[in-house]
Amino acid sequence: MAQKILPDENKVQRHGFRGRFTHWTVALSTLALIVSGFGQMPMYKRYYIADLPGLGWTADYSTTLIVHYLAAMVLLFAVTFHLVFHVIRKDYDLIPKRGDFRTSYLIIKAMVTEQEAPPSGKYLAEQRLAYAFLAFSFLIVGLTGLLKVLKNLPSVNFSAQAMVWISDLHTLSAFLLVFGIVAHLAAFLFRENRPLLPAMFTGKVNLNYVKHRHRLWYARLSGKGSAVSLQEAPAQVPEENIRVS
């Protein structure tokens, strides 16, 4: 955590070590899960991917299965850490708020038309929506994944129908997840979003950027925000009506 303005550096501390650690642990374990998960389908060999240098293991089901299990452990650790930590601290900044769909539309419109965006808190409305979408995909892929782990045990045998449902839901939600990740990365196609990138590595973002685009967050951090301005802009309110004192 440790969010604070660092006036000397002209930066704002956005993420602490824990946040970055959790993000990257989730990201890397998910990458390993996706690669090894696709390896559960007979494709790396057929499409010559296993012939690429260093990728021979991708065609070996016993290897990709173990990688899948180990990466699932790492992901489970990081996800429970993330959830429990934020619940204890009652930090729900990433949970979508009412009107986020419309606000996202306004923010994206502002990027496209190069106009002033509505003021944001620590997270942009579309970041919260993306979080919810990814969380939902993770939930389904995780639950069906755990059922598949159960099914792999010698003592467990599901009915034919259940096997089809579990398998197809797992595959489908994995595709949702991949789609979500692609969308998440595609955000950086927009120049306006790029100042957020360093925060995922150094934890810091440019102060001017925060003042300009995350006015509500800046107000909260600088302690200058009035009770009203700390509320994020409800989408219905025309943006002209919102002024951060």
């Binding site: 389908m41 173990i66 299990y69 850490f81 429990v84 782990v149 792999n152 010698p154 009915s159 579990i166």
Partner: protein, 329 residues
């Protein structure tokens, strides 16, 4: 199995219980609905020496004719590769497993205790207890049924042959040009449908025995409750001071072989035969690797980690949150 069909199954099984299904008359078949299996007594099987094709193989081919693939005339290659697995011009082949031949007999001569013993071993799917072919099918197209057999759903199978790769014996056989993939993008995705023995599922559901069991003139194949089959195999094994196969392999199966010679020796001979074949890499000619493991063993061995990881995550988070809140963050 639905309630209805299970009751149905039980009823028929009880009726069938009175019928002698196998060499051992005392073995009533699955009268209480427990799973069924088979016991091949290799001291009795002579590979039907006098017949051009062994009786069990002929019976199997006749019985399953209707279930064999009917592929399209034009079959695309598996892009980007220049191959396709097409057995449709080898339908008459009875010396290996193909989509059109679900059982065949291997014969080897083995030196044992100073004697040359000829052993004939009918081969087919072992209908394993924890079948990786079914468990690991990415589409759920393969299943272990409550009655014991492992079945491939030919409506769902895309022919990726993962089941064959994870089966210690490489049993399922692939035919290109049939199945679901033909309706999607046959050139680019999918490869056909996998075929193998289904233990004459329809027959056993209606209280019968598999066709091969009934056809064997030597009564070398016994059929009944898996537990009873294992006991029969063990009894025969001690009686002849022989060797048993299928009880431990792949984590346990429902097919038991008893042989007068060690299966290690049989396997060596089979590997020799295989290496002399025209295309030694071709599937459908299984060996007898003794006590071969289940591909899922290692993964299942790590399951505790999947329970511990979230607990550790929660604990670490609790500790971290406590520290930061105490520190006034």
């Amino acid at each position: 199995m639905s309630k209805m069909s299970r009751r149905d199954f039980l009823k028929r099984s009880v009726v069938a219980g009175g019928v002698v299904m196998s060499g051992a008359g005392k073995l009533a078949f699955a009268a209480d609905g427990s799973p069924v299996g088979t016991f091949y007594d290799l001291t009795k099987c002579d590979g039907c020496r006098d017949l051009p094709v062994p009786a069990c193989v002929t019976a199997c081919r006749e019985e399953n004719q209707q279930k064999f693939p009917r592929p399209a005339d034009q079959i695309e290659l598996y892009w980007p590769r220049n191959i396709k697995e097409d057995w449709s011009d080898k339908k008459e082949l009875t010396t290996r497993l193909t989509p059109y031949n679900w059982t065949f007999v291997q014969t080897v001569s083995v030196e044992h205790n100073g004697q040359t013993v000829q052993v004939s071993m009918p081969r087919r799917c072992m209908h394993c207890d924890n079948p990786p072919c079914a468990t690991l099918c990415p589409f759920g197209a393969q299943n272990k049924m409550p009655e014991g057999p492992v079945l491939i759903n030919k409506e769902l199978c895309l022919g990726g042959a993962k089941c064959r790769d994870v089966c210690p014996w490489g049993i399922p056989a692939r035919q290109a040009g049939v199945g679901l993939y033909m309706k999607i993008a046959p050139k680019y995705l999918g490869a056909g449908v996998m075929y193998k023995c289904d233990l004459c599922y329809d027959r056993i559901r209606s209280g019968g025995a598999p066709a091969c069991v009934e056809a064997c003139p030597k009564r070398a194949i016994q059929f009944g409750e898996t537990k009873a089959m294992l006991e029969a195999a063990q009894a025969r094994n001690s009686a002849i001071n022989g060797y048993i196969y299928g009880d431990k392999e792949n984590g346990g199966t429902s097919t038991f072989y008893v042989s007068p010679v060690p299966f290690e020796r049989i396997n060596e001979k089979l590997q020799e035969q295989k290496s002399r074949q025209e295309n030694p890499k071709a599937p459908g000619f299984p060996g007898t690797p003794v006590e071969v493991g289940n591909i899922l063993d290692t993964a299942n061995g790590t399951v505790a980690g999947l329970v511990i990881a979230p607990l550790a995550g929660a604990f670490a988070a609790g500790y971290a949150a406590y520290k930061t809140m105490k520190g006034g963050e």
